[in-house]
């Protein structure tokens, strides 16, 4: 627990609220890490267990060379790795922020961007496409909604913590 002098001078109920919101940030941080790992696993399972190949997924044109295919796939996995690492960074930053070990809050902007992009991507589920598996779509939508909720909940909790602390400083 981050022990600010102002924290210890706060009324009990305000301290309890700050603890609650810090706990929310921490749980959302853990959620971001878990959901990002799950996204990788989900993609891997989609490719491994379905009839589709990587080529089908990327919809390569027929005239593409083998080198380009391999390069695309490798680049894709590197990109997935980078996104995973970014999510890890965001999650760990949130955990550190909630325990007072990190003061910089810039990572919340990245969280907001990711959550907002996820929100926009929900629309794509309703665009008629090749895949009409309702159960798969439903599962994916639920997970994406969870991911959006986790992101925005974390930001809301961070705003509330800052508001409470500012209010205490004024008093």
């Amino acid at each position: 627990m981050f022990l600010l002098r102002e924290f210890w001078n706060m009324p009990t109920d305000k301290k309890a609220q700050i603890r609650k919101y810090n706990n929310d940030i921490k749980i959302c941080g853990i959620g971001i890490i878990i959901l990002s790992i799950w996204s990788i696993i989900r993609f891997y399972l989609t490719v491994y267990f379905s009839d589709m190949t990587m080529a089908d997924l990327f919809e390569f044109p027929e005239e593409i060379t083998d080198f380009e295919v391999i390069f695309t796939i490798i680049f894709f996995w590197i990109l997935m790795g980078i996104i995973l690492l970014i999510h890890f960074y965001l999650g760990i930053s949130a955990i550190k922020y909630s325990t007072g070990k990190k003061k910089k809050w810039g990572f919340f902007i990245v969280v907001f961007i990711f959550a907002f992009v996820d929100l926009l991507s929900i629309v794509s589920y309703f665009i008629p496409g090749k895949s009409n598996d309702i159960d798969t779509k439903l599962a994916s939508i639920l997970l994406d909604i969870t991911s959006i909720y986790v992101g925005f909940d974390m930001i809301y909790a961070a705003i509330r913590v800052n508001m409470l602390r500012k209010k205490q400083r004024k008093e």
Binding site: M1, T12, K15, A16, K20, N23
Partner: protein, 370 residues
């Protein structure tokens, strides 16, 4: 609480309440025996297992965590070690399933404590001893429940010991926990044992004060922590003060049981009788040690001028085991067993009547239906 309080301190309280040395020994033996009367022991002497007042670690490891197993666990621990404070407590925005467990939280001076003491009125010394054990534990085990529940008995990892110096300034020292039950607590470095976090709601690891380790049982320690049930609010546990109140309340309760007059009143403490020994008792309570048996024993022997025999769990086993069937209830353990069944039945019945099925049905309820 530990043997130092349940055995030796109860002896002292009984003596101050006016009981003779032998009566004090019977009372304090019974109070301590509550922590030893397991199913295993009862089976070994051919006694009814329904009278179990505690569970061994091995018994708990083998116990089921389905509804029947949980009811059995709750019956034992809520009846003798975590007496519920308010079976009709309310809390906003909580489902019935949560409230059933919330209402089992133990605190001193609840209605059930009054019923416990009044149930012992006019009964055997063994029953007095059981009542004193229950009374003392309501102070030590406050804010925990005698049912396996993560949402009630879990705590944050942040425990801080509150230390005050001679000039009254309070400082804090972080308490660190380890999970090695074979090693004892390190008082010097503030490293204590506790149960590891278990995410399963009904895991046996979430029974009682496991997450706080032995902290509630040390009379010297004052600490603050955050329990799961209190919505992120902090709780300060002042054991020296609580234990002193427990002692004074025991003296009052034992005087009531001895005289048998009037009603037992809650939140009443016999400070007057204890006053001449206040400094001595507070010195024992605040001494930083794992167990204060020696100090309490010395105090008790000074009070009565008699030797206090050390507690021996098997002391009355043979008497019960070899007694004829019709004479078993007249033996020491026979009276203890009768008192234990009575106490358990009363508490289980009260929990059931509050429409909480966590402790199951009690015999008195079943007999009414029959």
């Amino acid at each position: 609480m530990q043997q130092d309080f349940h055995y030796y301190a109860t002896y002292c309280a009984a003596y101050l309440a006016g009981f003779s040395h032998d009566e004090c020994l019977d009372i304090c033996y019974s109070a301590e025996f509550v922590d030893h009367c397991s199913k295993t022991l009862l089976v070994s002497i051919g006694a009814p297992t329904i009278a179990a007042t505690t569970q061994l670690q091995l018994e708990m490891m083998d116990s089921r965590t389905d509804i029947l197993g949980l009811q059995e666990i709750t019956r034992i621990w809520s009846s003798f070690h975590f007496l519920p404070y308010d079976l009709y407590a309310t809390k906003k925005w909580r489902p019935k399933r949560y409230m059933n467990k919330y209402r089992l939280i133990c605190k001193p001076n609840g209605d059930l404590l009054k019923k416990t003491v009044e149930l012992a009125d006019g009964k055997s010394l063994q029953h007095f001893g059981i009542a004193m054990h229950v009374l003392a534990d309501t102070w030590a085990h406050s804010y925990f429940a005698g049912t396996p529940s993560l949402v009630i008995n879990n705590t944050e990892n942040e425990f801080y010991e509150l230390l005050s110096d001679e000039s009254g300034n309070i400082s804090e020292k972080k308490i660190r926990f380890k999970h090695n039950p074979s090693s004892s607590d390190d008082l010097e470095n503030n490293i204590f044992n506790n149960c590891i976090y278990q995410g399963n709601e009904s895991s046996i690891m979430n029974l009682g004060h496991g997450r706080a380790g032995h902290l509630p049982d040390y009379s010297f320690i004052k600490y603050r922590y955050i329990p799961a049930w209190d919505d992120y609010k902090e709780t300060i546990k002042d054991n020296p003060s609580d234990y002193y109140n427990a002692f004074c309340q025991m003296v009052y309760a034992l005087k009531y049981l001895k005289d048998g007059e009037g009603d037992f009143e809650l939140s009443k403490y016999d400070y007057e009788t204890v006053a001449p020994y206040e400094d001595r008792i507070k010195e024992i309570l605040s001494k930083r040690q794992l167990i204060a048996s020696k100090d309490w024993k010395n105090f008790g022997e000074e009070l009565s001028g008699e030797k206090i025999k050390d507690f021996k769990r098997e002391k009355y086993n043979d008497e019960y085991a070899y007694a004829h069937k019709i004479h078993k209830e007249d033996t020491f353990l026979g009276k203890f067993i009768e008192a234990a069944i009575s106490q358990k039945s009363m508490v289980t019945n009260e929990i059931f009547l509050s429409k909480n099925y966590l402790a199951g049905l009690s015999k008195s309820v079943i007999s009414k239906i029959g």
